[in-house]
Structures are given as structure tokens and as C-alpha cells.
């Protein structure tokens, strides 16, 4: 295979593979920016995948299915929000429980749909005009699902909202110093709730992509660890929506190259790389603490109670 063909194919497949990661990781970035870590991504994606499939199967409408997937992910995150924000329980334990609950529940309700094909799954489309661009067209704008293009747009929107609006400033401030936000008379809890719920919604969409587009079917365990990769992605991107896209493409490229280069390169090494990157990112983050540009949200994982230090 020629090098340019390989590069184009790799980027295109990396993007397809990374789509659910992008949705879920964007959601996690938003939630964590507000200071609430949610380890339930895997569970929320599973809930989204099974609900989306079931609704699409029964109604015959994939877009209705996608809506249901988003709501299912959101419902899962609501549980986490209540436990971690209102009840101020340990967010890490709560998130893990959500993952276990989501996987178990999705397996249970999904029984009836195992091994059944979706007759009208999402189809791939080309983006008009942009798909004709040399190189970039076939890389990013041809033969992907609508949700893939939408993920790129969503990252852009999240970046604008997060860094160029007042609401985004409040969101980030809540994650850095909730006491100061509270003192300024702004709603800490409500902001955190909103961030966690949006996070769940996006994770649900990611799950829906899996069962409605990427591999239109339902099978127990079909999320298969993607939720955990999304968590790693949120960290690796250093909580930045645009870097999520870059990091997602990098993770995706490693994954797809593991198969393309299997004949010449040990696949284990390539599939390992994303995690090596993540560990490096964590180390880098830890070392650069104090230099605000790279650090994690200061109040990440810490419940907020007025008057408590």
C-alpha cells in the first residue's frame, strides 16, 4: 500500500474509531472542568448503547434511538450527580458503581435484543464541498457517519462555550475554586449538576454511535473498555475540548494501525501506546502543577460544602 493511501486510510479509520471516544471524552472534560470526576463513562455508554438500540429497533427510527441513548446516558449521570454532588459521597466510588450498574443493567435489559440486526442503521454520508478537498477530504469528510462530523463540531462548540463565554468561565471557576464562585453569589451546585448531566448526555450519544452506526447491533459488553479510554483521553487532552480531538485521533490511529501494520509491527505495542501517552500526560500534569496552563481543575474530585475548607 502506498504511503499516502495508508495515511489517508489511517486518519479516516482513526476518526471513525475515535467518534464514541470524542463524544464521551468531551462529556467527561465538561464534567471534570466543573470539579466532578465521573468514572461511570463505561456504564453510561453501555446504557446509551442498549437503550438506543432497543428504541431504534422497536420504532424503526435511528434518530429516536439516538435521542433515547442520550437520555439514558443522562439518567445514569443524574444518579452520579445526586450521590457525588448533593450527598457529597466519594465521586470515585460513585462513578465506579455507575459503571458496574450500567454494565449489569444494560446486559439485563438487552437480553431480548442480543443477536438481532438493526435493519435501518445510520448510513455513512459525505460532507458536501469539504469532501472534495484534496487529502483532507478523504481523511476527514468522506464516508463517515453524521455523528462523526457532529463530534468535531461539538468539540469546537464546547471550546467556544468553555473558553469564550461567561458560562464557561463560571464552569471552569467552579472546578478551580468553588468557594470563590459561591462567594461571588454564583450557583456552584447547579453548575456542577449541569456539567455532569451534559457529560452523561454526551456519553450516551457515544454509546448510541456504537450500537446504531459503528456496529449496528447490541451485544453484552459491546462498549468493551471504550469508556475507560475516553477517561484517559480527558486526562491526556488536559481537559481541553480541541485537544480531545487531537488526542482522540492519536488514540484511534494507534488502534487502527495495530491491525494495518500487524505484519511488520507488534500490535500489542501500538495498542499500548495510548496508555503510555496517558501516563506521560499525568506525569507532565503533576510536574507542571502551579503552572496553571496545564494543571487539572484544582477542585477535581472534591465535593463542595459551603463554609468548609
Amino acid at each position: 500500500m502506498d504511503l499516502d493511501v495508508l495515511v489517508v486510510a489511517t486518519v479516516a479509520r482513526a476518526l471513525a474509531f475515535a467518534t464514541p471516544l470524542l463524544w464521551a471524552a468531551l462529556g467527561e472534560v465538561i464534567a471534570e472542568r466543573s470539579g466532578v470526576v465521573n468514572l461511570g463513562v463505561e456504564g453510561m455508554m453501555a446504557l446509551g448503547a442498549v437503550t438506543g438500540f432497543a428504541v431504534a429497533f422497536v420504532t424503526g427510527d435511528v434518530w429516536l434511538g439516538l435521542g433515547a441513548a442520550a437520555l439514558a446516558g443522562m439518567a445514569g449521570s443524574l444518579l452520579h450527580a445526586v450521590v457525588a454532588i448533593t450527598l457529597r459521597a466519594d465521586a470515585y466510588v460513585s462513578g465506579l458503581s455507575l459503571t458496574i450498574l450500567g454494565l449489569g443493567l444494560s446486559a439485563l435489559v438487552g437480553r431480548a435484543w442480543v443477536g438481532r440486526p438493526l435493519l435501518n442503521p445510520m448510513r455513512t454520508v459525505d460532507v458536501p464541498v469539504l469532501s472534495d478537498l484534496p487529502l483532507l477530504g478523504p481523511m476527514l469528510f468522506q464516508g463517515q457517519h453524521l455523528l462523526t462530523y457532529a463530534a468535531l463540531v461539538a468539540a469546537l462548540v464546547a471550546w467556544v462555550l468553555m473558553f469564550h463565554t461567561r458560562g464557561g468561565l463560571v464552569l471552569r471557576s467552579v472546578g478551580e475554586n468553588p468557594a470563590a464562585v459561591d462567594a461571588a453569589g454564583l450557583p456552584v451546585r447547579r453548575t456542577r449538576y449541569a456539567a455532569v448531566l451534559i457529560g452523561g448526555l454526551l456519553a450516551g450519544v457515544g454509546g448510541g454511535y456504537l450500537s446504531l452506526a459503528y456496529r449496528p447491533s447490541w451485544g453484552e459488553g459491546m462498549v468493551n473498555g471504550l469508556g475507560w479510554i475516553a477517561l484517559a483521553l480527558a486526562i491526556f487532552s488536559m481537559w481541553h475540548p480541541l485537544r480531545v480531538v487531537v488526542a482522540g485521533l492519536l488514540f484511534g490511529a494507534c488502534f487502527t494501525l495495530a491491525f494495518r501494520l500487524q505484519t511488520v509491527f507488534p500490535p500489542e505495542l501500538l495498542t499500548l501506546l495510548p496508555y503510555v501517552f496517558t501516563v506521560l500526560a499525568l506525569v507532565f500534569t503533576a510536574l507542571s502543577r502551579g503552572r496553571r496552563a496545564f494543571g487539572a481543575p484544582e477542585a477535581l474530585g472534591r465535593p463542595y460544602l459551603r463554609g468548609e475548607r
Binding site: 447491533s217 459488553g221 487502527t256
Partner: protein, 434 residues
């Protein structure tokens, strides 16, 4: 999905069929298989037992009692099945449960129980419970149950144990396996005729002898019809990895593959190939519904063929706890333990009959013959006992040029079980290649 047979021959580590829901990342958050649920399955069947059958059974009992065999009656048997995955996995455990249900249908009144999602390390406590409940035949269907079953068998010398896909036996533990090698060969004949680019894509789980045997049988079939066809293999290193199967198939398309087969536990390859209209072969369960227009054929398992034989021999006293050390089933087409087809009874999808029937090849032994005729001939030859045709028959070389079987030689069952070499037209990485 469960532990496939992974005979401990060769250098590859044993690759257990993990439950489908095992996350790839932090092990701390692994979803535990749902608490295994014991279900009674036979109460209804019991009431349906026709009087005639009872009479016949009683008669048979009296007759053979006269012969002095250790007779057992159907009412006396309580059979329990231990599955490694959920019966809803649409794969390995699902197929085993179909076998159990067919067994009950064959022996109305037979009492059976199953426990699903049994963790491989915890098989012994489940056996304890089942024996306490009065079960006297216990069948485990995952390779990883082996140690637990053998240990339990020592503690319960009067209970008969069966181990599907297992390799170690004892006085009261027998092993059984329904294998697809002949069926993969038949699928290979079809694939060789259907490929236009000459490259056939194969997505495989683990480089273990079982999977290598299937790839080789498939590749040998393809080359018999199309000497230029190559089988390009990509490995998932997992039984269940839908995203991996998707990207592996895409990678194979990039290599020019236009016909697809696989040995892993999802219908992903079929779905991905279908997006470009490429033919594929289904694996284990009937996956025809996932793409009725592109699934050519496939391989189906009938575990009940073996189970019925076992129960018959327990009833007539041939098998007792104590004489099972040499009871090992390795059954294929000849015993109807496996079947070729996209769904039961459909050897070739009618949509492909014209292409395969119209493809006439010049066969070195048979002369001019259509591919369909060749498939049917081979199917017939392998469906008799002993089989009149063995796919692994010399002269056969591996892809490194070593002669594996000389003219007239054929693979023995032990050689099939321990296969590590790669057929001449197989491409791609191959761990543990001799």
C-alpha cells in the same frame, strides 16, 4: 462466549474466552458476571412424556437388565450444565444451551439444570451445590473449567463429569468437542471461487492451534478451487472485541480483500463487509439475518449430537463413573455434530448458487467440475464414517516450504489438535510458527 478448546500443545499461552463484558482497561472496575442463576428447565417436559416412551423405556430396561449391564433409568438422571457466559451471548454458551434444549426434547422427561456465567475459578462451589441438589451428571462447557471439574470429580467419584473442549480426563471425567475444520474447508472452497481480487480476509481471535487449524482448513479449500488465492489474516488477540473486528476488517479491505471469514465472537465482520457488498461466512450461530444478501455460508454446531450419545450410553450402562478415562469425543460432519451453512439446512445461500454452480474449475483429480458439485461431493465424503475425505491430506507443505504431509498421509486427531504450522497461501503474522 467461553473458553474454547486450547490444547496445551505449542508455545502459545492459553487464551480463555473471556466473558463478553470484560473491559479492556482498569481491571478494578470489571463488571462481574451477573450472579449465576439456577434454573429448572424440565418440569414441563416431564408431564409431556408419552406413555409409549415410558413403556419402551421400561421394556428396554428389563431387557438390558437381563444382560447384566449397569442400567439407569431416565428418571434417575439429573444433568446440570455449567456455562461460562450468559446464554444470551448469541455465541458459545448460547449454542451449548441450544444443545441442552435439544437433548431434553430428545429425551422427554429428562431433568436438566443450567447455571450461566460461572466464573472459571469458582466452578467447584457450584459443583458442590449441584451435587447436594442430587445431580449425578455435571457438564462444564468451558476449557477453563478443567481443573475445577477434575478436582470435584475426585471428591464425587459416583458423579459423571463431562468437559466440553477439555483435554484432560479421569475415571469419571470425559471430554467432548464438536469441531469445524471440515466445515471451514468447505467454506474455503466457496471463498476461493468468489474472490475476484484473489485476497480473502480472515479476522481471527487468538493464534492457538484451534484457530490455526480452522484458518488452514479454510485456506486449503480456497487454494483447491483457486490456486492463486491467498488468505490474509489479522489477529484480534481477543474472542470478543467488536471495535477490533471492525478495524481489522477495514484494514483487510485496505489490503484488497473482497471475501471475508472469521473466528471470533461477533457478527462485526459480516456487517462491515456488507457495507461494500463483500461476501462473508458466518461463525458459530446463524448470522444470516445480519446480512441476508452477503452471507454465503458458515458453520453451525449441534452439541446435542454428542449429548444424546452420552445420555444413551449412560442409560444403557456403557458409561459409568469409573470407566470414562478414555472417552473423548472429537466429532465433526460425520456425526452431525457440526453443520455447514448460513443457517440450518441452507448449505449455500441461494443468492450465491448461480455464481458457485457456474464456476467450473479444472480439478487435478476430478477434472472439470463446478464448484457447487465439488462442495457437495466433499460434503458427502466427509459426512460418512469414517470420512472418505480429509482436508489435511498430503502432499501438503507449510508456508515455509517444509513438507507437512507426504503423498497419501493425512492428519491424525492429535495433529489436528496441536496444529501450529501455516498453510502455503496464508499471509500475515503467525505466532509460534514452527
Amino acid at each position: 462466549m467461553s473458553a474454547r478448546p486450547t490444547p496445551p500443545l505449542g508455545p502459545m499461552p492459553i487464551a480463555p474466552r473471556d466473558g463478553p463484558a470484560t473491559p479492556a482497561c482498569p481491571p478494578a472496575a470489571g463488571p462481574h458476571p451477573t450472579r449465576a442463576a439456577v434454573r429448572r428447565a424440565a418440569t414441563l417436559e416431564e408431564t409431556r412424556m408419552p406413555n409409549l416412551t415410558r413403556l419402551a423405556l421400561a421394556l428396554a430396561l428389563v431387557l438390558s437388565a437381563g444382560l447384566g449391564l449397569a442400567q439407569r433409568s431416565l428418571e434417575d438422571l439429573k444433568i446440570a450444565f455449567l456455562y461460562v457466559g450468559p446464554v444470551g451471548d448469541y455465541g458459545f454458551s448460547y449454542a451449548h444451551d441450544l444443545g441442552r434444549r435439544a437433548l431434553v426434547e430428545h429425551f422427554p422427561g429428562l431433568e436438566t439444570t443450567f447455571i450461566e456465567s460461572v466464573p472459571e475459578a469458582e466452578v467447584e462451589p457450584f459443583v458442590d451445590q449441584l451435587v447436594a441438589d442430587g445431580h449425578n451428571v455435571i457438564i462444564g462447557t468451558s476449557f477453563g473449567f478443567g481443573d475445577g471439574l477434575l478436582a470435584a470429580a475426585e471428591r464425587y467419584p459416583d458423579v459423571i463429569f463431562g468437559h466440553a473442549t477439555g483435554v484432560e480426563r479421569s475415571r469419571n471425567v470425559f471430554t467432548f468437542m464438536a469441531d469445524f475444520w471440515q466445515v471451514y474447508y468447505l467454506n474455503g472452497l466457496m471463498a476461493g471461487a468468489l474472490t475476484e481480487t484473489g485476497t480473502i480476509g480472515y479476522v481471527a481471535a487468538f493464534p492457538i492451534p484451534e484457530v490455526k487449524r480452522h484458518i488452514n482448513a479454510f485456506a486449503i479449500g480456497a487454494s483447491e478451487v483457486n490456486p492463486d488465492a491467498v488468505v490474509e489474516v489479522r489477529w484480534l488477540y481477543a474472542w470478543f472485541d467488536p471495535a477490533g473486528a471492525q478495524e481489522a476488517t477495514q484494514a483487510l479491505m485496505g489490503e484488497g480483500a473482497d471475501v471475508f471469514a472469521f473466528t471470533e465472537d461477533t457478527p462485526t465482520v459480516i456487517q462491515v463487509a456488507a457495507t461494500r457488498g463483500f461476501p462473508s461466512f458466518s461463525h458459530y450461530a446463524s448470522m444470516l439475518p445480519f446480512s441476508p444478501e452477503t452471507v454465503v455460508s458458515g458453520h453451525l454446531v449441534n452439541w446435542d449430537a454428542i449429548l444424546i450419545d452420552v445420555v444413551e450410553k449412560i442409560l444403557d450402562g456403557t458409561y459409568v463413573a469409573g470407566n470414562l478415562a478414555d472417552v473423548d469425543y472429537f466429532w465433526g460432519l460425520g456425526h452431525d455434530a457440526v453443520e455447514v451453512g448460513a443457517e440450518p439446512g441452507m448449505v449455500i445461500n441461494p443468492l450465491f448458487e448461480e455464481r458457485l454452480g457456474g464456476a467450473v474449475i479444472d480439478h487435478p483429480e476430478l477434472g472439470a467440475i463446478s464448484v457447487t458439485d465439488l462442495i457437495m461431493l466433499r460434503l458427502e465424503q466427509m459426512s460418512v464414517l469414517p470420512p472418505a475425505f480429509e482436508p489435511f491430506t498430503g502432499p501438503l507443505r507449510d508456508r515455509r516450504g517444509n513438507l507437512v504431509y507426504a503423498e497419501g498421509e493425512s492428519a491424525t486427531i492429535d495433529e489436528l489438535l496441536g496444529m501450529e504450522w501455516a498453510a502455503e497461501n496464508v499471509r500475515g503474522p503467525w505466532d509460534g510458527e514452527p
